[in-house]
Symmetry: D3
Subunit: 140 residues, 6 copies
Amino acid sequence: MPKTYLTRRERFSSAHRLFQQELSDTENAQIYGQCSHPNWHGHNYELFVTVKGDVNPEIGFTLNLKTLSNIIKTYIIDKVDHKNLNLDVPFLKGKIPTTENLSIAIWDELAPHIKELGAELYKIKVQETENNFIEYFGEL
Amino acid sequence: MPKTYLTRRERFSSAHRLFQQELSDTENAQIYGQCSHPNWHGHNYELFVTVKGDVNPEIGFTLNLKTLSNIIKTYIIDKVDHKNLNLDVPFLKGKIPTTENLSIAIWDELAPHIKELGAELYKIKVQETENNFIEYFGEL
Amino acid sequence: MPKTYLTRRERFSSAHRLFQQELSDTENAQIYGQCSHPNWHGHNYELFVTVKGDVNPEIGFTLNLKTLSNIIKTYIIDKVDHKNLNLDVPFLKGKIPTTENLSIAIWDELAPHIKELGAELYKIKVQETENNFIEYFGEL
Amino acid sequence: MPKTYLTRRERFSSAHRLFQQELSDTENAQIYGQCSHPNWHGHNYELFVTVKGDVNPEIGFTLNLKTLSNIIKTYIIDKVDHKNLNLDVPFLKGKIPTTENLSIAIWDELAPHIKELGAELYKIKVQETENNFIEYFGEL
Amino acid sequence: MPKTYLTRRERFSSAHRLFQQELSDTENAQIYGQCSHPNWHGHNYELFVTVKGDVNPEIGFTLNLKTLSNIIKTYIIDKVDHKNLNLDVPFLKGKIPTTENLSIAIWDELAPHIKELGAELYKIKVQETENNFIEYFGEL
Amino acid sequence: MPKTYLTRRERFSSAHRLFQQELSDTENAQIYGQCSHPNWHGHNYELFVTVKGDVNPEIGFTLNLKTLSNIIKTYIIDKVDHKNLNLDVPFLKGKIPTTENLSIAIWDELAPHIKELGAELYKIKVQETENNFIEYFGEL
């Protein structure tokens, strides 16, 4: 059975701030630049979820796209869209909301739900601006 | 002398919240939906500034693009990028930072500086997400 | 009161065929080329609806974006998305579904609903492929 | 000799319908949703063909881009563009034209022709809408 | 009869240099910055040609898209694509190839051919990079 | 420690010509087509640099994006932007500036600087037009 990689894009708009609580504003600015601005800033994030799986020979799908979209919306988009990534998101509690940490946390949230569907989470890609993005493949 | 319209795009990433101070959170949510979320959210904004002018026959420019870009950066981008549109921006003080109000305020900031250069501000376009944008031509 | 132009993008995927019933396949091919292929073909259309209006000074909106989006979905997207533009769409009955006719018909459907909201439909833009689009301003 | 991956994008616009002949319309709708609409619908597809190969040290190419483009046009685009994927395409006969099956069938058509040129087909990516795409690497 | 605006996009890749022959390299650099680099540089240009016309009630077109595309290719693209805008293009002879002058010259080349087809050239838009473009409406 | 892949996009606009000095213009045209035009042509290139690394658990970054951007600007963009790839670029001397050779040369320039920062260069992607790009992973 051929294996394909299905990617679904979803979008969310959030506020965040990059900083370490134990550092001063000046120290945070040295590490995080403008991204440590105390009154927050925000982005239109694009999330690409890639799932690997056998193509079901009868149906012709790796996974039902609607099912995949619903899972991403329930477990991720509803929790981050029009929210503050530092203050409002249970699965980011205690983490600095860099695109790296965001990608890893989204992987950890989604992987078990994809597995339940008989497929395998392959990649999380989070695009923060048109000039930078992070990819995570679950590598430790 | 032929007249052309020169457009420069600049980008900024900001946090904001849409709400009226005199209304309750419930009332604000009825009007502004998710955009009134109290802990802020944010966007990657795209700003398109269009200037109308005669093409200088010797130089071949409507306006020097570098000059235009510098004016936009000095008077707009430096004040809104990686900032909170409700709290940090002098020219938005007391205004609800909708894309409409943002476009009008940017027009008011830029128009005199474009005029000084012998050209005419023609349009401000602000794109908030890939699905919605506002255009303002200075019409009252 | 400043007037702004608010644009909302919605998308739909449809099948269509360009042909005149009274002409032969050869004649239709001479006029419409590949687009007259008898077994249909299709596109991902992008619809941009632009509404002109005063910015409500209290709220800061030309029109509520959610309301506008709902109107477009109810009167247009639900009727054309994942449909056949020749066979399934009441407001296209008896019309050749060129991008021109599609834009005009969408204008005619939406204009009264936008008017009811106290604003004015300004432009319908329909993008058929990345290389061609039609704009209609209600001009006769 | 360094190995590079050359990708060529080509586009096509097609009609299709997702359904299993032995199922009722209601059953097909449960599996394929709107995509099983009996009167067809369609998309602007983007096809990305990635070829892996040594860079010819004299010429500086992995493969001549024009040659690659011609092969894709002859064996794929000419057969699917402005066509019905269910009815018109020999290499899709008897297959449900999901993006998965489309990607696999395109791989099977192109792989031998790429091989004849001394290179290796590495990936087929088919983008159906801006929100979903399939990648296939020939994995079984 | 409704009037619509039909836009066709074509692309070309060219080299150019912005400079005035009677000025020194230093003086040119002061006016044109990097764009006056003596050994040339280049761009992927996007050209958008917008034609205004009545929609033919029998055919449903403003103008046949294929005809429009062929005119643009014959009179513009074939002369500028993979060429040097300073050295190779008859209709730019003696002009500094700024995006402004390029837009005006393309207007002058295309307008009579569009008129012969019974339509009206409405706008030339030339996009030089993702951050800047010129629009020309034939205004003097 | 989780490993992520960080990608930074930078852009440059350059002139180039594809040809072998020892061949005639006719022979070069047979191999390189329009790209061998003697008076040069040019492109807006997009460069995507992907770096693989552990996410620093305190800071939350694979690598500081600003640092990465500065390295790309210093060692690549400043040397190729608004330049002639055949005549002006030290690291391309003696090479035919195909997208393949450009990608490999950029890899060779950047790899040691990324290593000094404790990370690993994973991929260079150079997009020449919207229809073709090269990826290089340092494979020999």
